[in-house]
């Protein structure tokens, strides 16, 4: 469906966003600038990564069908965020990543963050939520083969994704609060966030074990029936 030029572009974006931009955040921020500037650097790089993704998405000839299916998944995630305590967003993002590919997974995670923050409050943290949820979907897409085969691996990945989300968001909390990274504050933030981390892990495992199979079958069926 896609030409070679588009394919290389897709691969470049796929590799560049998680493996070049994010480490740049850590290394560039700590080496080139003093600690006061960490927050701006990290925010700028998060936004840059998202813009890069948007540019790649814009250029590429994504099928209309795939785009609409992504919009459906985003709407379902968004509706799920209103469930108290248990949030199915990461689980649905992972499912989207596995069955529709990493790029769609990233799209679903990132756009859900933007959309649901209309109700839960937009802020500078939106960029980090977008990146965190997007990466969860992207990595699920890259690991799609083993995740599809082994149920236990899927549940482990879900638990790990819940913890990863919490850890990423706490880095942001500390950077914002202290204008520089302090290990002590980070540990304190992780400590206070334990109930949230636990709820992420529990809801990921729960929703993945409940939804992964039926949802996957539905998506597979759609793919087979319409050739998305």
């Amino acid at each position: 469906m896609n030409g070679i030029r588009n394919k290389t572009l897709r691969n470049t974006v796929r590799v560049a966003v998680p493996f070049i931009i994010v480490p740049m955040l850590a290394i560039g921020g700590s080496l080139a600038f003093d600690r006061k500037r960490h927050i701006i650097i990290s925010l700028a790089i998060a936004i840059f990564a998202l813009l890069l993704f948007a540019a790649g998405f814009e250029k590429r000839n994504t099928g209309t069908r795939r785009m609409v299916i992504a919009a459906v998944m985003i709407a379902l995630c968004f509706a799920g965020r209103f469930i108290p305590f248990l949030k199915p967003i990461s689980a649905l993002t992972i499912i989207a990543g596995i069955y529709l590919g990493g790029e769609t997974g990233f799209l679903v995670g990132a756009m859900t963050a933007v959309l649901s923050n209309f109700y839960f409050g937009q802020g500078p943290w939106t960029a980090f939520q977008m990146l965190a949820w997007g990466l969860i979907g992207l990595i699920a897409g890259l690991l799609s083969e083993p995740l599809r085969r082994s149920r236990i691996f899927l549940l482990i990945y879900g638990a790990a994704a819940g913890m990863m989300y919490s850890f990423i968001m706490d880095i942001w909390t500390v950077l914002w609060y202290a204008e520089g990274f302090e290990v002590k504050l980070y540990l304190a933030a992780l400590g206070t966030a334990i109930p949230y981390t636990a709820s992420y892990v529990v809801s990921n495992v729960l929703f993945l074990s409940l939804l992964a199979k039926p949802f996957g079958e539905k998506l597979q069926r759609i793919k087979k029936k319409y050739g998305v």
């Binding site: 814009e58 919009a71 709407a75 500078p124 609060y177 998305v228």
Partner: protein, 292 residues
């Protein structure tokens, strides 16, 4: 004579990011205080005396954030008292208050921003960056109420067929799960139909237009230029090390000179711009009403 919320969305976005960007970039207490004051003032001008619940929430958040730093960090030379063998220092306390004021101030600004920027305006702004992503967003926004309506009609149909009762918990949960499953299948199929319909109408063949057109008026351009000029002065003052303050080990600020005064005055004016616009608009309205 428009109120601030009626300005061009692009201009409003640039404004909000320049105010909060400076607040997050610079930890000078005077600027932080201005951010906080401006955010709260504009929130009150917009909402009047309602929303006291969010004021209470922000106040409690402020207290927690301000107390967190002196309890965790023990830098600083002026010891106030010793708790659990750990010294609580004046510097760490002031640093905590400063950070808390910054965070709560930025939260107030973004609360204002969320109130002003309706989803339609945000789609306009994202549409300028990436029309495709903006389309995905606006479709999802539409799908949410649509799924809700469809799930209600499915539920009615199921109940009418006697497939589940609401007074039996297990039966109820099973019925809800079934409805959820039906809705997902329906949503995916419906999405495909939508996509085919879009393709049939020539989606992607030409340039896309917006539902609402926000034009750049003279007021928008003046506002944007003022915003950029004030931002420039402020950034120059910060880059020239005129507005610097170290909390640790001892509080030591840069000397107050012309640069510091210019930077602070520019930022103060920047922060007050929406309030000035709102006041001007409401005064003019009152004047016009008086003339009738």
């Amino acid at each position: 004579m428009r109120s601030f919320s009626e300005y061009n969305p692009v201009v409003i976005t640039i404004y909000i990011f320049s105010v909060t960007g400076i607040a997050m970039f610079c930890n000078y207490p005077l600027l932080i205080g201005m951010t906080f004051f401006g955010g709260v003032l504009y929130y009150i001008v917009r909402n009047g005396r309602s929303h006291w619940r969010s004021h209470i929430f922000f106040f409690m958040l402020f207290v927690v954030l301000a107390a967190a730093n002196p309890l965790v960090s023990h830098n600083g030379v002026t010891i106030l008292f010793v708790m659990n063998d750990n010294p609580v220092t004046l510097e760490a306390l002031l640093y905590g208050i400063n950070s808390a004021a910054m965070i709560v101030g930025v939260l107030y600004w973004f609360r204002n921003f969320t109130q002003i920027m309706t989803s339609e305006k945000l789609l306009y702004v994202t549409g300028a960056l990436s029309p495709k992503l903006s389309l995905v967003l606006s479709m999802s926004l539409r799908f949410v109420p649509m799924f809700h309506r469809q799930s209600e009609s499915v539920s009615d149909a199921q109940k009418a067929m006697g497939l589940f009762k609401e007074d039996n918990v297990i039966d109820d949960v099973r019925g809800k799960m079934r409805i959820f499953s039906i809705i997902i299948t329906w949503a995916l199929e419906n999405g495909i139909i939508t996509a085919d319909s879009m393709a049939a109408r020539g989606f992607g063949t030409g340039k896309r237009s917006h539902f609402t057109n926000f034009r750049f008026r003279r007021g928008d351009i003046i506002f944007l230029l003022t915003d950029l000029a004030l931002l420039g002065i402020c950034v120059a003052a910060i880059a020239g090390h005129c507005l610097e303050l170290d909390f640790y080990p001892k509080i030591r600020g840069s000397a107050i000179g012309a640069g510091a005064i210019a930077g602070a005055a520019a930022y103060g004016l920047l922060v007050l711009m929406p309030v000035i616009i709102e006041t001007e608009a409401s005064l003019r309205w009152r004047y016009l009403k008086l003339k009738i």
